[in-house]
Amino acid sequence: MISMIEFTDITAWIHSLLLSVLTPTWTYIVELALSGVTALVVLLVCVIIMVYMERKVAGFMQLRWGPNRVGPYGIFQVIADVIKLLLKESFSPNRADKVMFNIAPALALCVSLMALAPISWAPGLTMWDTNIGILFITAISSMGVIGILMAGWSSNNKYSLIGAMRSGAQIVSYELSAGLSIITAVALAGTLSTNGIIQSQADGWWILKGQIPAIIAFLIYVIASTAECNRAPFDLAEAESELTAGYHTEYAGMQFGIFYLNEYINMAIVSIIASTLFLGGWMPFHLPFDYPVVQTFNHIMDFIPTWMWFFGKMFLIIFFMMWFRWTFPRLRIDQLLKLEWKYLLPISIVNLLFAAVIIVLHWHL
């Protein structure tokens, strides 16, 4: 890494600046708040880009332009939507469980934001650099369903209830194969820490180094995480042609907006994890060979800044999820569960064994 301004420099500078003004305890607290706010802002900007991207991708795949009249190329479209949603009347239905109804979107949002903590954004830029980062994320992400279940149950609407129950069954079962494919990557890297996993890919990403098991695990992770985000073709929880709007049928205004936001935040997190595990996070593209040509190539790759790698990979996987959404028909609930229990789970178990063999025999590059 040459001559680029590193995030570590910036954080160190902020740290010293704060220390010169405040006591160490206050410094710590202020840094915590700062990092949280920064992550949130970055994520919200990402979400706005993603919503815009979704509408454009959908448009382009359907032979039309998508939003292009609000601002140049329609870039202010999402901002107009946000303003409208913020100013919209929001209320809870008469016979709903008011407390749960109002808590549910906030809870769903909190849970998905919690998963941000151990994510490694750039070299040295992690909110909580713990040695069990991936474990923490898997634990948190399975809690996301609670918000959906609360929303569905408290709305006092049968569509919402069916949607929430579907979502519950779906997320609980798809956690398994997502978890198993994460374990494959973790076993290859030999660590649970996000930074450690990324560092282990310094000479090449796991999707290349880990041979076939890594590729299969990556595919399974993308499928399972699409299901976990309730995205089409697994969007049974809000299947529009069946359940009008699923678990958020009764939500209006910004409460609905939060669910909308939540879906995109989940997508972002899932794709960040996928890129961390299999595509090397912020790590540039390196080839694991010792020829001078390859060395030069690796060197050139280092010139591309890490944040570009990070967001490039993230948006690539998000594009994949959008691509699926605008191509495939929706599965039925029994097919969805069959896919998990009869196909993805056995395949990922066999795959994990296969990966274990490779790791034991040191076949990975």
């Binding site: 795949m61 032979l63 039309r64 691509w323 191509t327």
Partner: protein
């Protein structure tokens, strides 16, 4: 021959597939004698189901893997199509950007029925004789012809058009008024930008103030 054609097309589209036990049962229904010219797609189903039964007798693991691969291939085909659209959007895009193309490429056809008009010539004359045939032809009373009696110069009483009231709000553009008009006095115009804030503004008076009936040209004038 036709049957074989369909079968091969199905094969191409990857129809060889799972059949539930339900469908295997119902294959007992034999194709009846429905004449020579009916397409018996059912035969294809029979062939496919027999293949399926054969496949079942083979190793099930092989089937399992085959199914997974088939699923991936069939989904990838769809993905490729949408990706092709995504990449070549500038070529395949068919959007007419309406408010921008109002003056240029808008594809409103000449015959499009937008609203009924009563054309006036430069002397503020129209051809309507207030015969009310259009009013009678109109299925839902969208036309009201209000006529008045006037005395012409030579003392005769004559019925002329006073108001040609057109209810655009209930007009259904069935063309029957124009079909019924013996004078070709009314026409359909292909305008469509007719939205309003107030329903009462959709009731038009088609004859302009001060307009009068166009005199029929005499034989001399017609020749010239």
């Amino acid at each position: 021959m036709f049957c074989i054609g369909i079968y091969s097309s199905l094969k191409k589209t990857g129809e060889l597939n799972l059949y539930s036990s339900l469908q295997e049962e119902k294959l007992n229904i034999k194709p009846g004698s429905n004449g020579t010219n009916s397409v018996k797609l059912g035969k294809c189903h029979l062939i496919l189901a027999q293949k399926k039964i054969k496949n079942k007798q083979m190793k099930s693991l092989f089937n399992y893997i085959k199914e997974v691969i088939y699923a991936f291939v069939s989904l990838a085909k769809g993905l490729l199509l949408t990706l092709r659209y995504f990449i070549t959007i500038k070529k395949v895009n068919i959007t007419e950007e309406y408010p921008n193309n109002r003056t240029t490429t808008i594809s409103v056809k000449e015959r499009f029925y937008g609203e009924v008009v009563l054309p006036h010539n430069e002397n503020n004359e129209h051809k309507c004789t207030a015969c009310t045939l259009c009013q009678m032809a109109c299925p839902n009373n969208s036309i009201q012809i209000i006529s008045k009696q006037i005395e012409t110069e030579d003392g005769k009483k004559k019925r002329v058009l006073d108001k040609w009231v057109y209810h655009l709000d209930s007009c259904t553009f069935c063309y029957q008024c124009i079909d019924a008009c013996p004078q070709d006095a009314i026409e359909m115009k292909n305008s469509f930008e007719l939205s309003v804030y107030d329903r009462t503004k959709l009731i038009y008076q088609l004859n302009r103030p001060g307009s009068k009936l166009k005199e029929k040209p005499t034989v001399k004038e017609q020749q010239s």
